[in-house]
């Protein structure tokens, strides 16, 4: 019999919610403290997106066609930036803590791992949306694209649905630095790059080799890009053809991500890798 009694279910749920708010709160503090780094990365992303979108202006075609191409490229750039940041933040859950030296304190705290990881995911989505909106507005204003038919609500809704899958996939790669501190982080970057390259960021998936096209069908970014382009360019609403694969991938990737992370955490605890130096 334990001498100190465990709290009830309601108290445990409250505890988890407070823990989740703590993860978001901590990340907001870090954004505040690294504000000028965030500004620098955002400017770099805007400049990078502009270099791609300006390609449309160099193509010999009527202005209206140029605008369509520029918008298609811009959507690719914004989605890359949005999904990339979600992936990066969730993937770096462990690497970041290890770098700061706080990993042991976080992993011995009485908050469940799903709540910890979802906290990272929620912050990543909020942060990614703010960045994506600034990026979109800045590039549209700079290059002078007119998107009169855009259905922004549908585009944002689809991004929110796609975020679930990316949080799940991020959980799977977040485990890599637990198993191998340095190589794991490197592999996380490789996975992020590979996932986005097969998803038709700046081109239709149909131009890819067949084997890459097959992989693109299991990438949530494929459906996010296709649906968002339709919403921005043609004012299309949420298309079931894009929504159901995203829901399916999300429903599979979250439990799978949590399971993989839990197994990785057990491995790290067995082999003494759950510490700042790995």
């Amino acid at each position: 019999m334990a001498a100190v009694q465990a709290p009830g279910v309601a108290a445990q749920i409250r505890h988890e919610l407070v823990g989740l708010s703590g993860v978001v709160e901590r990340n907001l503090y870090l954004v505040k403290r690294y504000f000028w780094w965030d500004v620098a990365f955002l400017i770099w992303t805007i400049a990078n997106t502009l270099t791609i979108v300006f390609i449309a202006r160099g193509v010999d075609m009527p202005k209206a066609e140029q605008d369509r191409l520029a918008t298609a490229l811009l959507v690719g750039g914004v989605i890359w930036a949005f999904l990339g940041i979600i992936f990066e933040i969730v993937t770096e859950t462990v690497a970041w803590e290890r770098w700061e030296g706080t990993i042991e304190y976080t992993f011995m705290a009485p908050v469940s791992r799903p709540v910890h990881l979802f906290g990272m995911g929620i912050f990543a989505v909020l942060y990614g949306i703010v960045r994506a909106v600034i990026l979109f507005v800045a590039v549209v204003a700079f290059i002078g694209i007119d998107v009169p038919n855009a259905n922004y609500a549908a585009a944002l809704a689809l991004l929110a649905i796609a975020s679930i899958s990316f949080i799940g996939i991020g959980m799977m790669t977040a485990v890599l630095p637990l198993i191998s501190p340095e190589k794991g982080t490197q592999l996380g970057f490789v996975a992020q790059g590979l996932l986005l390259v097969v998803s038709g960021v700046y081109y239709p998936v149909s131009v890819l080799p067949e084997w890459m096209q097959w992989i693109s069908t299991i990438s949530p970014a494929t459906y996010a890009l296709r649906g968002t382009r339709d919403s921005i360019l043609h004012g299309a609403g949420l298309a079931w053809a894009d929504v159901w694969p995203l829901l399916l991938i999300g429903a599979a990737s979250i439990p799978l991500g949590l399971m993989i992370f839990r197994s990785g955490e057990r491995y790290a605890k067995r082999h003494g890798k759950l510490k700042r130096s790995g």
Binding site: M1, A2, A3, V4, A6, P7, A11, R14, H15, V18, G19, S21, G22, V23, E25, R26, Y29, L30, R33, Y34, E100, G101, T102, E104, Y105, T106, F107, M108, A109, P110, V111, S112, R266, K269, R270, H271, G272, L274, K275, R276
Partner: protein, 270 residues
């Protein structure tokens, strides 16, 4: 009679290390260690670097899985009831690990949320606890990286105390501190015992610190717990006047002796 705070029985932990080629060697960091700590007691475990002190602390903190034996904390299994154990335990390690760009107050706030404390609950508690450890109020907003090691270690103690742990694990909390900071931290540990009724496991290689702070002193050598008893009993047992002499009598080595290759290998993990 009340239940013991910590019961460790035949606890064993091994690490695997790659040696030359593809060969893997197993090194025992803890070899069938057994001891009990009563509620409210302060126990110090002495040992050189690589003796297994940190491994013991990390096992009790739920950061490692064991290879044999058992460990219970206030009746909860340290390897099965991890959620329950985590609510009861906090620690201070040799490195005051914080988010370096965040302030002391922000770091404490973040840690408190993980222990279920809301912003409202910590609004007054954090300044109060920082004041108690002698942290200057005008520096609460400064990033941790701007603070001295001694100051950071005080914040680490405040972080541990903020969550009201019933078991406090101190892993070389004063190592590397200047004499004044060391004294202040030791003073605070004494205060914690009186004010909070906490049970304390102090791992250190500072024999004076162990003698001054602990009710009982243990010696962990190369993963084996050679004794754990009041200092006077240790001295009587070996017929010596100091803990340094007791260490020599128990191990045949002086505390500062050079380490063997095996010790260094063990140090990497432990």
């Amino acid at each position: 009679m009340s239940q013991p705070a910590v019961v460790v029985s035949d606890l064993r932990k091994e690490f695997v290390r790659k040696s030359k080629g593809l060969r893997r060697r197993r090194r025992a960091a803890l070899k069938d260690v057994s001891f009990t700590i009563e509620r409210g007691e302060c126990v110090a475990i002495l040992g050189q670097n690589g003796s297994g002190k940190s491994t013991l602390v990390r096992l009790l903190s739920t950061l490692l899985l064991h290879d044999g034996g058992t460990a219970t904390i206030f009746g909860y299994d340290a390897f099965k009831d991890t959620r329950a154990v985590r609510r009861l335990v906090n620690r201070v390690s040799v490195e005051a690990s914080f988010f370096k760009k965040m302030s002391a107050a922000e770091n404490l706030g973040y840690a408190a949320r993980f222990y279920g404390m809301t912003h409202k609950e910590t609004r007054d508690k954090i300044p109060a606890i920082l004041s108690r450890v002698g942290f200057p109020p005008d520096r609460r907003g400064e990033p941790m990286e701007a603070l001295s090691r001694g100051m950071q270690q005080k914040v680490a103690l405040a972080r541990a105390l903020l969550t009201s742990p019933v078991l406090l694990l101190l892993d070389e909390p004063t190592t590397g501190l200047d004499p004044r900071s060391k004294q202040e931290v030791q003073e605070f540990i004494r205060e914690i015992r009186v004010a909070h009724d906490s049970t304390i496991l102090l791992c250190t290689h500072d024999m004076t610190e162990a003698e001054e702070l602990a009710d009982r002193v243990g010696l962990l050598d190369r993963g084996e717990l050679l004794f754990l008893e009041p200092v006077e009993c240790v001295k009587d047992r070996y017929g010596v006047d100091t803990l340094e002499e007791a260490f020599f009598a128990a191990t045949g080595r002086t505390f500062e002796d050079e380490k063997s290759e095996e010790d260094e290998e063990r140090e990497v993990f432990a």
